[in-house]
């Protein structure tokens, strides 16, 4: 083994890496928020049974779940160029991740809503609750319990997937690492430190989610 590790260039750039880690969190959280809104819409459309728009939701969900996330990213990056739409790297990543998140979350939400028997709504209504009350007090809390864990997982996936951004030229954590690694030729060292940062970020998300779940589901 005639390779000498050089860690100093990495540690000198550590602030840059950590800052890029924040960019990763930003884009992952944004994509998650957009994904939740779109996923909820898709789930409602799919459950509505309206033939005219169900195909759209089903198509989105199946495409998002059955093609690689990287391909989806490339599609927003290069594919849309054919129509003269040129997105910034940030938007490519945001749209790509949101598209993917929405597809997965739609199925999560559908499962969550299916887990609450419709008779419960009838029971709540017959007890004198308004439809809004029945939903906010009976249905939503139970759905939350079912979808909370899968949503946490999706958030983790969102962070992990955001690393694909390096391939479309966005400088989040992975992209920044590649940029710095190619400048200094310390590829292994840089990516090892980045791997540690990703690991810590994922653990923080999981810990945060656990804390929040204690708070949310006390009874």
């Amino acid at each position: 083994m005639d390779y000498t590790f050089h860690w100093r260039p990495v540690f000198r750039k550590l602030p840059d890496l950590l800052e890029a880690g924040l960019v990763t969190m930003e884009v992952a959280v944004l994509a998650m928020l957009v994904g939740v809104v779109l996923g909820l819409a898709l789930a409602i459309i799919r459950m509505s049974g309206l033939k005219s728009i169900t195909w759209f939701a089903v198509g989105w969900i199946e495409l998002a779940r059955n093609t690689p996330a990287l391909l989806q990213l490339f599609f927003f990056g290069f594919g849309l160029g054919a129509f003269g739409i040129h997105l910034s790297p940030f938007l490519i990543v945001l749209f790509g991740l949101s598209f993917n998140n929405a597809g997965y979350l739609a199925e999560t939400f559908r499962g969550g809503f299916n887990a609450v028997p419709p008779t419960q709504v009838k029971a709540a209504r017959s007890l004198g609750m308004t439809p809004t009350q029945a939903y906010t007090r009976i249905v939503i809390p139970q759905v939350m319990r079912v979808v909370y864990h899968p949503m946490t997982n999706q958030m983790v996936w969102s962070v992990l997937m955001s690393s694909l951004a390096m391939l479309v030229g966005y400088r989040e954590l992975a992209g920044e690492t590649q940029f710095l690694a190619s400048k200094t030729y310390r590829i292994f060292e840089f990516f090892l430190v980045t791997a540690v940062i990703y690991y810590v970020m994922v653990k923080l998300i999981l810990a945060g989610s656990r804390l929040l779940s204690w708070r949310l589901f006390r009874y």
């Binding site: 390779y3 990287l70 391909l71 594919g79 054919a82 992990l160 997937m161 990516f191 994922v202």
Partner: protein, 220 residues
């Protein structure tokens, strides 16, 4: 336009090129899924049998594969081999990483499957005179499999799609092939659509079959 164009349109023969690349995607996925599943089942059994000790050692290691983006793992391993004096092809490096990645995901699934079999059922089989291995083979395996087959299928589908990331090492699988064609034809939309269709054709049947199996197993 009289000048010679370096770009040529998408031709029918390019479909053959893509099909060949799809074959490579399938090859690397099947290798990773089959070997990774066997390894993952062993890991899952170790985790389930050793409890805390396993969680603190093997569990932590496997957890790393699930908490670091696959693309970073691939780049790390690919650059690690030359450091210890081996030069490996992108295919070998990619396959090894995918195998461990799969095994880490399957281990969690397998462990869940083993834990899903109630301890009373296992005690009953043991008290009927079955050996530990007979209990594992004829009681835990069939019962646990039903519980976690959908999760396992999810992992397999995920690995099939994640195999696209091996393209960053330079292995010409489906996604890399699409990049090559896009560079030549300058028709990104068409080619990405075709490649998307290829991926869809590979993964959609698996998800349908498992969905049907899941439904059938629920009722008997």
């Amino acid at each position: 336009m009289d000048s010679v164009s370096v770009f040529t349109d998408f031709q029918f023969s390019d479909l053959g090129f893509l099909a060949e690349a799809a074959g490579r995607t399938l090859l690397i996925s099947v290798l990773a899924i089959s070997i990774g599943t066997v390894l993952g089942c062993v890991f899952g059994w170790v985790l389930s049998a050793t409890r805390l000790a396993g969680d603190a050692t093997l569990g932590v290691i496997l957890d790393i594969f699930r908490s670091v983006p696959l693309i970073i793992q691939l780049i790390l391993f690919y650059n690690f081999f030359p450091i210890i004096g081996f030069n490996v092809s992108p295919f070998v490096a990619g396959t090894i990483v995918l195998i461990f990645y799969t095994s880490a995901l399957v281990a969690a699934v397998a462990r869940g499957g083993i834990d899903a079999v109630s301890i009373n059922l296992r005690r009953a089989s043991r008290s009927l005179g079955m050996t530990y291995w007979q209990d594992l083979r004829y009681v835990v395996w069939p019962v646990g499999l039903r519980a976690v087959l959908p999760s396992w299928a999810g992992v397999a589908l995920g690995v099939l799609k994640d195999s696209a990331l091996v393209s960053v090492l330079g292995y010409v699988e489906l996604l890399r092939a699409s990049q090559i064609l896009i560079t030549r034809t300058q028709e990104p939309f068409l080619i990405l659509t075709v490649v998307g269709a290829f991926y869809f054709a590979l993964s959609f049947p698996i998800s349908r079959i498992t969905a049907r199996l899941e439904r059938r197993w629920q009722y008997d």
